[in-house]
């Protein structure tokens, strides 16, 4: 199978805006770690998966326009949640190709947050769903992903 990878960074002059008090407080301030003016679209093979707290990191090998490759680290959430959903390292095997939308780190190293991580055909990596307990007032658990 021919795997085509490409790598693109778009720069823009849009001013950074800071959102105040969203209802959900992230572990750290994303605007502090990632550069809103450096959006990226990364395509490449997974070469390493670090299911660590406070944030998991998926390493992918991305081809540059000149044909050489470089490894980018993509930040995700807490692996504890994934493990409870049944998602493990085996779900994200080395060698599968993924597409990542995100923003490059403010230190301009090859790191980005993963706003959207999918398979090349656009399907989400969400392979499970949260479990209910049957307690009063609880939602019916959503049907599993196909």
């Amino acid at each position: 199978m021919l795997i085509r990878s490409k790598f693109m960074i778009l720069s823009a002059c849009t001013a950074l805006t800071v959102a105040l008090a969203p209802p959900i407080v992230a572990h750290h301030a994303f605007p502090a770690e990632f550069d809103a003016n450096r959006p990226v679209l990364l395509k490449g093979k997974i070469v390493k998966v670090e299911l660590v707290n406070p944030h998991a990191w998926i390493h992918i090998e991305v081809a540059k326009p000149d044909g050489s490759t470089e490894v980018w680290m993509v930040e995700g959430g807490s692996p504890n949640t994934l493990l409870r959903k049944g998602i493990t390292k085996a779900t994200l095997p080395i060698g599968i190709e993924v597409v990542v939308d995100g923003y490059q780190a403010k230190d301009h190293t090859n790191r980005a947050n993963g706003s959207d991580i999918t398979l090349p055909d656009g399907r989400k990596l969400n392979l499970g769903s949260s479990h209910g307990t049957g307690a009063p007032g609880e939602a019916e658990p959503p049907s599993p992903q196909k």
């Binding site: 959900i24 959006p39 660590v52 658990p141």
Partner: protein
């Protein structure tokens, strides 16, 4: 990693599984007849801490309103699960990043509306009756200004951009960012849900002590049963907790706080009274009252339920792999040197 998880899982299994409930759906009890609180609980909820204005001050939600809350979350989950455009371009520049920091598949927002005595609740706060945290006193506001943030919440970072020294030093970062205490007050004291993920709690009970562990961020608070508080010169980040039984309810009073946590802007003089009651084999009612005349003109009380869970609570080893804090500090240095270079070009 796997071996460690198995070992931890085994330990949790030994320590954490709730005792079998008694006949007739009663609550589990220890050999000395006390309610047995030992177990793993899931404190997630979709019910907000303060009552949204749309409920017009009503404590109870209608069935329709409760269903709407659940439906809205289900819709969000459904949307998030839909495939993306395989030929998409990079996202727009200037995105605030606040709403879409990373995929929803990492998250577990909550799947319950607080329901107590059959009543579905519009907020966790029940006192004052408007479901809102009472206004801060002048003294509380002045202290809040000094600390520079959103009612002094050490876990809220969005406003720190207003502080010129915010990225000069790791110690200027919030407790959660430094992996010291959970964000969104999952660590307490008192303990609130964070509406994102990892809302598991573990209680281990003995006749003389009760331990409350929050998964995020691995905080264990020890409650002594009976006895007195430590001398006021001894201060603790999560406070000094002393408990006693009132019938089938464990009442825990916590004082001796420091200025490092500042729960919703509170001072070191905060007093928290928590009440843990097993309602049935599947549910624990968690109620808390905050008193701090140096911060609020009157006390306030909230309550919500924790569901007995058969999920596994995992170690949240935060510090060792906290690449984010280093990234933030390095990012600030890069931004500074770029700004300095741009300035010298203008000269």
């Amino acid at each position: 990693m796997r071996v460690r998880l198995f070992a931890l899982g085994g330990l949790i299994l030994m320590m954490g599984l709730p005792a079998a409930s008694q006949e007739g759906g009663g609550i589990p009890r220890t050999p000395d007849g006390r309610p047995d609180l030992t177990g793993i609980y899931d404190a997630n909820t979709l019910t907000q801490i303060e009552r949204p204005a749309k409920y017009g001050g009503r404590e109870a939600l209608t069935d329709q309103e409760a269903a709407e809350l659940l439906r809205a979350q289900a819709t969000r989950d459904e949307e998030a699960d839909k495939p993306s455009d395989p030929n998409r371009k990079a996202p727009k520049a200037g995105n605030t990043l606040a709403g879409k920091s990373y995929d929803d598949f990492w998250k577990s927002f909550g799947n319950r509306v607080v329901t107590i005595g059959g009543e579905k609740r519009s907020s966790i706060i029940i006192e004052p009756p408007d479901g809102k945290i009472p206004p801060m006193t002048e003294e509380g506001n002045a202290r809040d200004d000094k600390y520079g943030g959103l009612a002094g919440r050490s876990d809220v970072l969005e406003r720190r951009g207003q502080r010129p020294d915010a990225f000069d030093d790791p110690e200027a970062s919030a407790n959660s960012e430094r992996c010291l205490l959970g964000f969104g007050w999952t660590s307490g004291t008192p303990i609130l849900p964070n509406y994102l993920y990892n809302n598991l709690k573990q209680i281990v009970q003995t006749p003389t002590e009760v331990m409350i562990v929050t998964e995020m961020i691995h905080d264990a608070r020890l409650v002594r049963i009976g006895g007195r508080h430590l001398p006021s010169s001894v201060r603790k980040w999560l406070g000094d907790s002393v408990g006693h039984w009132e019938g089938d309810t464990l009442v825990v009073e916590t004082t001796n706080f420091t200025d490092k946590t500042r729960f919703r802007g509170s001072s070191e003089n905060l007093k928290v009274t928590e009440r843990f009651t097993r309602l049935d084999a599947n549910t624990l009612l968690y109620r808390f009252t905050l008193e701090d005349p140096h911060t609020w003109a009157r006390p306030w009380t909230g309550e919500y339920t924790w569901a007995v869970s058969n999920e596994r609570m995992f170690e949240y080893a935060c510090h060792e792999n906290n690449y984010a804090l280093g990234g933030i500090l390095r990012g600030a240095r890069v931004s500074e040197s770029e700004a300095a270079a741009a300035k010298s070009e203008h000269k």
